[in-house]
């Protein structure tokens, strides 16, 4: 009877060894994007868009990293800056928020700053605790939507904003 159990025990140990070869690695990355929209903008919420093509190996500086290796992507911080070339100042806005949309995933709110106080840039937003970007990173392309809430009634020029996202990802490593 003992002899019969041995192959089972050995198989179990081998399986354990096999699974232990796949572990999870934590990695940080910074994503910088330029969101843009053409005026005119009116008082109230106005959206600027930034498209991003997903390339995990490039983003996480890890050769051979596949989309399927991404287990979780959480936001550590989000900051926003106005383009220096734009002739609009922070006192023209009451709030700013950031969302993401792409693939088959529902649009997800990522970060918010309300109210905007002072004139120091970049603005640091409060990030969502729940948002996980990993499902979005399975798509080919995602769109970040930056909503500025305008006070002024009429701004006719193009507007640009720099978005900086600091990410913390859990990645499969073999």
């Amino acid at each position: 009877m003992r002899k019969m159990r041995l192959p089972f025990i050995l198989s179990f140990i081998m399986l354990l060894g096999l699974f232990s070869c796949t572990s999870t690695e934590q990695k940080e990355a910074t994503l910088q994007l330029k969101a843009t929209a053409q005026g005119p903008f009116f008082a109230g919420p106005n959206s600027l868009m930034a498209e991003y093509s997903i390339n995990p190996a490039d983003l996480f500086d890890s050769e051979g990293l596949k989309k399927s290796d991404i287990e979780e992507v959480k936001l550590k911080s989000v900051s926003i800056d106005l383009a220096k070339s734009d002739s609009i100042a922070l006192d023209q806005f009451t709030s700013v928020s950031l969302s993401i949309v792409g693939g088959d995933e529902p649009m997800t709110a990522l970060a918010i700053l309300n109210p905007i106080e002072g004139s120091n840039t970049p603005l640091t937003l409060t990030v969502s605790e729940e948002a996980d970007l990993a499902p979005f990173f399975q798509a080919d392309k995602v769109t970040f939507i930056l909503d500025w809430d305008f006070i002024s009634d009429d701004y006719r020029e193009e507007m640009n904003s720099q978005i900086t996202l600091n990410l913390n990802a859990a990645l499969k490593s073999n």
Binding site: G44, P45, S47, M49, T94, S95, S97, S99, V101, G102, P106, M107, A109, I112, N114, T126, V127, S128, E129, E130, A131, T143, I145, D147, D149
Partner: protein, 156 residues
């Protein structure tokens, strides 16, 4: 023979493109500003990447009497996002045009309780939407009629 083939392919291509454009035109009828039956808000529906989203652009009572500040999404399940202003909030998300006069696969958010429901939008005429929010199956839900906000024409 080559010319005939080329003409045939051109006709097919034009027909196909026209069909797609007609379908896009039909779907885009949803774009505009709409008013729910309670009259407390106006919602602007816009298109982002082939899907439709609706955000609050006007509130009858924009100030929260408790805080005396502009209303925020104080019932958001994510505590960190509770300072999001209600004006500008996207309460309709991810709608796709699936059938004649119907948009599905989307959700509607109720800021009064912080709940998100599955939702179907049916355009009963050019200026009327039947919005049905539900959990699970559409039989158990609640409907509301939204009217398109007509922009008055400028007097000359």
């Amino acid at each position: 023979m080559k010319n005939m083939m080329r003409s045939f392919l051109t006709v097919v291509l034009i027909s196909f493109t026209s069909l797609i454009m007609a379908q896009d035109g039909e779907a885009d009828r949803l774009v505009g500003v709409w008013e729910p039956s309670h009259g407390k808000a106006k919602v602007k529906i816009e298109k982002i990447n082939d899907k439709y989203y609706g955000k609050i652009v006007w509130l009858r009572e924009p100030i929260d009497p408790e805080t005396e500040k502009p209303k925020v999404d104080k019932n958001n399940p994510d505590e960190k996002m509770r300072s999001t202003p209600l004006r500008g909030y996207r309460i309709l998300k991810d709608f796709e045009y699936t059938d004649k006069d119907t948009w599905t696969e989307g959700t509607i958010y109720d800021p009064e309780n912080g709940n998100t429901y599955n939702c179907t939008i049916k355009m009963t005429d050019e200026n009327t939407l039947d919005i049905r929010g539900y959990i699970g199956i559409s039989t158990f839900g609640r409907s509301d009629v939204w009217k398109r906000l007509k922009i008055p024409s400028r007097k000359k």
